[in-house]
């Protein structure tokens, strides 16, 4: 049995060598502790790294962990790399992604219904970027495919898991004067 500081160092080494997201289960297995304890240690490490003046942070992504650099070093680190040409997503793709993220799993038909337009090309683009994936079929006639977001989505958008998606208290700007107080209170956008 290792000391706690030793375990922390070991976990850091594991995350470093892995480079990728490492599942909590795998870490727990290697350090030979139960997942609950391991999770506790990792939470503690996340906090300490966040507070510390250190070069890396630990991110939690869907029951896994990954080392990454700090936002504030972006401009410096960027200079190490030739411009990363990353093609951005179109407005249509962002809308489609938002609909999938907040309603997963969801069918193409439903996406189309919410957006009011055919969204096939956006769905294809998001699949290509590995931001969404197939996640089974709906048990209705035709058994349509369902789509859900991926871990890559969580990574790219900085979420720990799907529950981490921000909730917006939105009030639709209904600027017409006819708007009554009462009506305002009825506007709730629960996700």
């Amino acid at each position: 049995m290792l000391e706690i500081k030793e375990i922390e160092a070991l976990i850091e080494g594991l995350l470093f060598a892995s480079g990728d997201v490492l599942s909590l289960d795998k870490i727990a297995e290697i350090v030979d502790l139960d997942t609950k304890t391991t999770k506790l240690i990792l939470s503690n490490m996340i906090d300490n790294l966040q507070k510390s003046k250190r070069g890396t942070l630990i991110r939690e992504i869907n029951e896994g962990y990954q080392l990454c650099t700090r936002h504030e070093h972006y401009e410096y680190i960027e200079r190490l790399f030739e411009s990363r040409q990353k093609q951005g997503l179109s407005q249509a793709a962002f809308e489609t992604l938002a609909i999938i993220a907040y309603n997963q799993p969801i069918t193409r038909a439903k996406i189309e219904q919410i957006r009011g337009v055919n969204s096939d090309s956006s769905v294809t683009r998001l699949l290509e970027r590995n931001l969404i994936t197939y996640s089974g079929r709906l048990d209705t006639p035709g058994r349509p495919m369902l789509y859900a977001t991926t871990d890559e989505f969580l990574r790219c958008f900085g979420f720990k898991n799907i529950k981490d998606l921000p909730f917006i208290e939105m009030s639709i700007q209904a600027e017409g004067e006819e708007q009554s107080e009462e009506e305002y209170e009825n506007i709730k956008f629960d996700v």
Binding site: I77, G116, I168, E178
Partner: protein
């Protein structure tokens, strides 16, 4: 074009994501109350927009036409209330449209949130995994000693039966093709691992290689080129083919 169509022309430049996007724009522009949309005005504006699109010979997506029909339907319903239900509290014919508009608006806002988050998290870098060769761990083999013995007895017996009783000669074993496409492809990739390029002619020893092997090799080269794992160059017709490692620029 009069002034209003000219103005609409400007709007179309904005490239709406769909009919809901356009409707929302019209409502916000005129500061209409979304819960009490003046359906006549909105429908007129919407139709005018489609009209201009048409005038400009722009492709109008079918969804825009469907929405136009929906708007006209709502308009007619509002003009001619259902007489039967006059006493009861009648459902507002606009209700469904309003629900859809609000739902759409919500996701449009969420898409903005995601956009922000992406910008923020694009500023973080990750490290590539260490290139350590995977060590394979095998489960124990699931066969008992008896089974192994039985397998062997089976083979031996089978061979005994194959021996022609009269001549005592066993039927000849069929010669199988020893060069598989897959193996050849693997071989090429392995050969290229530490080289910039190899010549096609160097892939085969002149004495030992059979025609079949050379043909298989050629197909392997074509297949790898198709998979973009190698690049192939030939200076002129019938000259040697040079096979380049894709990783080397």
């Amino acid at each position: 074009m009069d002034n209003s169509t000219a103005e609409l022309y400007k709007i179309k430049i904005q490239n709406f994501e769909g009919p809901l996007d356009l409707l929302f724009h019209l409502i916000e522009k005129s500061k209409f109350n979304i819960y009490d949309i003046p359906i006549n005005d909105v429908t007129d504006q919407y139709m005018e927009y489609l009209y201009v699109m048409n005038e400009l010979n722009l492709d109008i997506a079918s969804e825009f036409i469907v929405m136009a029909a929906t708007l006209l339907h709502i308009k007619s319903k509002m003009l001619l209330p259902d007489k039967k239900n006059v006493d009861e509290e009648e459902a507002d014919p606009r209700e469904e449209l309003v629900t859809r508009l609000i739902q759409y608006k919500r996701f449009k806002e969420y898409s903005g949130v995601l956009r922000q988050k992406e910008i923020e998290w694009a500023k973080v870098f990750y490290k590539f995994p260490e290139l350590i060769e995977k060590k394979k761990i095998y489960d124990d083999i699931d066969i008992t000693v008896n089974e192994l013995v039985n397998i062997y007895s089976g083979i031996v017996e089978g061979n005994l039966n194959k021996i022609n009783k009269k001549t005592q000669i066993k039927n000849p074993v069929i010669q199988h093709e020893k060069v598989s496409l897959k193996l050849k492809m693997k071989e090429i990739i392995q050969n290229l691992a530490d080289k910039m390029f190899i010549a096609f002619s160097d892939m085969f020893s002149k004495k030992k290689s059979t025609k079949k092997e050379i043909v298989t090799g050629f197909i392997a080269v074509l297949e790898l080129a198709r998979q973009k794992k190698i690049t192939v160059k030939q200076k002129k017709q019938f000259s040697d083919i040079l096979i380049y490692n894709k990783k080397v620029k």
